[in-house]
């Protein structure tokens, strides 16, 4: 099952407009230069408490039916998914091990065989649902802010 690219890009752009408030408050750099209906992806630059930068790509293909694929990339985008691009404290796969990351699902090679992609908007454990780009920014920001270095 897939979703029309026009729907995805409209939802992504609408949610990015809301997430811009969070990004501005948190000092995040959102690069939407690549966003198009053919390639609905963008990157966000976060910092940890020591000022180290981490670049995160959100590939929103088929969003919001499915969550984005979230991957750490190098500043020049030439390297992706390696441990040294990840902050310490995340899943050692390496992976953002949350329902809002398509990479976390076993059917996409991730650790979670107990989650279903279509249920990605469900709250984790007793918590709140992380089901918008703004909430994803917020969750990642607090995780990365707490990290003290890189995974490798």
């Amino acid at each position: 099952m897939s979703i029309a690219p026009g729907v995805t890009i409209e939802v992504v752009q609408r949610e990015l407009a809301v997430a811009a408030d969070f990004a501005a408050a948190a000092g995040l750099l959102v690069d939407v230069g690549q966003v198009s209906s053919q390639k609905p992806s963008f990157t966000v630059t976060f910092q940890n408490g020591k000022g180290d930068c981490f670049h995160v790509e959100f590939d929103c293909q088929d969003y919001p039916l499915y969550p984005p694929t979230i991957e750490f990339v190098s500043g020049d985008r030439s390297e992706r998914g390696t441990a040294r691009l990840y902050p310490s404290g995340l899943h050692p796969m390496p992976c953002v091990c949350m329902r809002y990351n398509r990479k976390a699902y076993q059917e996409r090679g991730g650790p979670h065989g107990d989650w279903r992609l279509v249920d990605w908007r469900l709250p984790t454990a007793q918590g709140v649902a992380i089901d918008t780009l703004a909430m994803m920014f917020s969750d990642l920001e607090s995780k990365i802010r707490q990290s003290t270095g890189r995974m490798a």
């Binding site: 408050a25 007793q126 918590g127 709140v128 992380i130 917020s138 607090s142 995780k143």
Partner: protein
């Protein structure tokens, strides 16, 4: 730290614990901000029960939460004329650290002996998991983090439906 007999154990219904966490998480939707929820309830000699949550009109403009005398007064006004008393508060921290900061010790609104102050990690986003929270009690003029949490704060059920087969509730 052990409980003094004079300090009632605070009982927190599960539903209000979850609601506390959700309210704290709501502070972090537009920016990376801590949040605060005041707990009110009924107090008896050895027990107190949280019955009511009040979110003060807090200033979160710098990512930390602070409340003015006016906003605290507004919260108290809500319980005037009821048997409820102010028991303490929960506030959130951005990460997993749940110790009171010096600012928390100094500026928490509830600063009376017996007041309870719970720090919820990760902005409350992952719910109210008691073993992950930092529970502090105001004793002899200052806050101290308690080790034997059950002597100070305990969860109680809010609802149990024990029917083997349940029909969906009407909207």
């Amino acid at each position: 730290m052990s409980a003094r007999k004079a300090l009632p154990v605070v009982y927190l219904p599960e539903a209000l614990a979850g609601e506390t966490a959700a309210l704290l998480a709501s502070f972090a939707q537009r920016g990376p901000s801590e949040g605060v929820v005041y707990w009110f309830g009924l107090e008896f000699a050895e027990r107190a029960v949280v019955t009511t949550l009040i979110v003060p009109a807090a200033d979160t403009s710098e990512g930390r939460v602070s409340t003015s005398a006016e906003s605290n007064a507004e919260a108290i006004v809500e319980i005037v004329g009821t048997p409820l008393v102010y028991l303490g508060q929960a506030h959130s921290h951005p990460g997993w650290r749940v110790d009171h900061s010096l600012v928390d010790d100094r500026e928490t609104f509830a600063r009376f002996d017996g007041a309870i102050s719970v720090v919820v990690p990760w902005f409350g986003r992952y719910g109210f998991v008691l073993q992950d929270c930092g529970v502090h009690r105001h004793v002899a003029g200052q806050y101290r983090r308690v080790e034997r949490v059950a002597e100070h704060l305990r969860m109680i059920p809010s609802l149990r439906d024990l029917r083997p087969v349940r029909l969906p509730t009407q909207p």
